[in-house]
């Protein structure tokens, strides 16, 4: 290998490392600077040979209705939303932690009415009910620990959310206690 190619080879390896550090940096920035919200969830515990063990988190806000029967305790759909849409869902921050009528799901852009919002993608839309994924539906745990979370009575997830609505999981709160892996 010529010295020029050797330099290029080293450059590519450095670029690969920068890619990895970039991924780390992006998520760390959200965790460090994002606003905090606490989301109620119901976990399920699968396992994958290469991924290891993880719990699937299904949030209260994973399914959103049209608001006709809404009691003001959950967000509701505003405007037309179809499968595949990017939606912004207004949520309360960790200080108030209570939904109100200003918290709804809207496609396209976040509403100015929303104080704190989370971005997701609509995976299905049927009978005025949408299912949304926020990219925080998996929580990886050490081998054999998934069942502890699955069998708990109450599981909440503390998330950090940046200005564009991208969320990152900070920690799990299992039966009122922060869960330590």
């Amino acid at each position: 290998m010529s010295s020029k190619l050797k330099r290029l080879f080293i450059t590519v390896i450095i670029i690969q490392i920068v890619f990895l550090l970039g991924l780390v940096g992006y998520r760390e920035t959200i965790l460090a600077l994002g606003r905090t919200a606490v989301l109620q969830t119901v976990p399920v515990d699968p396992r994958d040979l290469f991924k290891g063990e993880y719990v699937i988190l299904r949030y209260e806000i994973s399914t959103i209705g049209d608001g006709s029967n809404n009691t003001g305790t959950k967000p509701y759909i505003r405007g037309e939303i179809i499968e595949g849409n990017i939606v912004y869902v207004g949520i309360p921050d960790s200080d108030t932690n209570e939904f109100d009528r200003s918290q709804f799901a809207q496609a396209g852009n976040p509403s100015e009415e929303m104080d704190l919002f989370i971005k997701g993608r609509v995976t299905s839309s049927k009978d005025n009910i949408i299912t949304v994924e926020y990219g925080i539906e998996q929580y990886f745990v050490p081998e054999g620990r998934g069942l502890e979370i699955e069998q708990a009575d109450d599981v909440k997830v503390r998330v950090k959310i940046n200005r564009s609505g991208t969320a990152a999981i900070e920690e799990l709160i299992v039966d009122g206690e922060v869960w330590r892996p």
């Binding site: 290998m1 990895l20 290469f50 595949g84 990219g135 990886f140």
Partner: protein, 436 residues
């Protein structure tokens, strides 16, 4: 007077040949060897090669075939064993890290991932380029490139990011593609092109869930296939890059023919548009931009590839067939993106015709250029198309069980016939792998 084929014995330099032939009667009986020796003597006499070079070539070519082939098989075995070994070690480490992920401190995780990957590259570099073990080194280089991909997913996992994410594949692709060129590794090129194809197809599948953009995404995927193939043509037209052409040509072909096949079904159109009676679909600016860029890559690659080819070869109408088909694909893709007709029927007709053109075009291209891969792809899609049309035709006409039995018998018969035809074609035309 010179002889042009290996079957023509050279008589001009007979005495020189006979001198050597006496040493090896087995070689004397081989007309190819005699022809080659005559040519080598001519090259030596005309000053193209020295006496030493002439002797070295003749000695090399006189070597019995069996040990040479044995050596080739042995070297393939080394590659297979080294690759399997490297992949197993990598899989073991990744599996261990994944299973105990949350128990490892953040800094240790990063150090383990980046340190392990860099160490693998260092070992690969040392073996491949410094210590003179190119096959084992190449296998470890391949495993290190795969390790980078695993690291991308492990980092995503460490932040509980959904790993069912095609963007991670695109990141992996971007990281390993330059490595393929720097290390001149065909295996890494195949890996990079493969990852890219899976990544964009996966992304497209996610995007087509959105009824407003389904057709446009399929159009971009079709344009992507033709673009990847055109990039392969550019590689093929330059001696330095010819080595890398095959993965692009085969990958682009597979993507194009698969998307075209999908678009031959009316149901797919109805799914993509949600309603066949929908008046029109508005083209979103973002998708138009992507389609323009991808189409431009195809056109620019075609121009670049053919300009180079025309410098060394004479112009012929036959040479225009490939660009003509690629232009047709681009036009069909734009027709799909604009979707001017309310009924799905015209599109189904257009894409069925395009599929037939691609199938027979590929088989012809394979035969003319002696490329086995193209013949195989053409025949496989011919059988798939035939089977699906049979099912479409009989599903409402015959009892299901009868339709399956007749279909099964027909498939077995067609499969047997096609395999025989394929083998005959390959033998008749002395086919070679696409890269040779």
């Amino acid at each position: 007077m010179t002889s042009d084929t290996p079957n023509n014995d050279s008589t001009q330099n007979g005495d020189q040949i006979d001198e050597r032939s006496e040493e090896s009667p087995a070689v004397q009986a081989d007309p190819r060897q005699n022809w080659l020796k005559g040519r080598i003597n001519q090259w030596r006499e005309s000053g193209l090669i020295s006496d030493d070079q002439s002797e070295a070539i003749i000695n090399f070519e006189s070597m019995p075939e069996a040990p040479f082939r044995l050596g080739l098989r042995f070297s393939r075995l080394i590659i297979v064993l080294s690759t399997l070994g490297a992949v197993l070690i990598g899989a073991g480490i990744i599996s261990f890290v994944a299973a105990n992920w949350q128990g490892i401190p953040a800094i240790a995780k990063l150090a383990l991932l980046i340190g392990g990957q860099t160490a693998a590259y260092w070992v690969a570099y040392q073996l491949q380029f410094v210590r003179g073990f190119p096959k084992v080194g190449g296998a470890i280089m391949f495993a290190a490139a795969a390790w980078f991909g695993a690291n991308v997913f492990l980092v995503a996992q460490s932040y509980h990011l959904g790993t069912e994410n095609p963007d991670l594949l695109i990141l992996w692709f971007a990281g390993v593609l330059p490595l393929a060129y720097i290390t001149r590794s065909k295996a890494i090129t195949v890996m990079a092109v493969g990852i890219f194809l899976i990544g964009i197809s996966w992304k497209a599948a996610a995007q087509t869930e959105d009824a407003e953009s389904g057709l446009q995404v399929m159009a971009i995927l079709l344009l992507g296939g033709s673009s990847i193939y055109s990039i392969g043509l550019v590689h093929l037209s330059h001696a330095v890059t010819k080595f890398f052409a095959a993965p692009y040509l085969v990958g682009g072909t597979l993507l194009t023919i698969f998307v075209t096949f999908m678009l031959t079904f009316e149901d797919i159109f109805n799914d993509l548009t949600r309603s066949p009676a929908r008046e029109s679909l508005e083209l979103s600016g973002g998708y138009v931009g992507i389609a323009v860029v991808v189409s431009s890559i195809t056109v620019a690659s075609l121009i670049a590839g053919y300009r180079q080819a025309m410098r060394v070869e004479r112009f012929s109408v036959q040479k225009l067939s490939k660009p003509a088909v690629l232009v047709l694909i681009v036009v069909a893709a734009w027709l799909l993106a604009f979707h001017p007709f309310t009924s799905s029927a015209p599109y189904v007709v257009v894409f069925n015709l395009l599929l037939i053109l691609l199938i027979f075009g590929l088989i012809t291209l394979g035969i003319v250029n002696k490329r086995e891969a193209f013949v195989n792809v053409g025949i496989v899609f011919f059988v798939i198309d035939l089977s699906t049309r049979y099912i479409e035709l009989t599903v409402d006409m015959l009892d299901t069980s009868l339709a399956f039995i007749i279909g099964g018998l027909l498939l077995l018969g067609v499969g047997y016939g096609m395999e025989r035809a394929r083998r005959k074609l390959l033998q008749q035309f002395g086919m070679m792998e696409v890269t040779q």
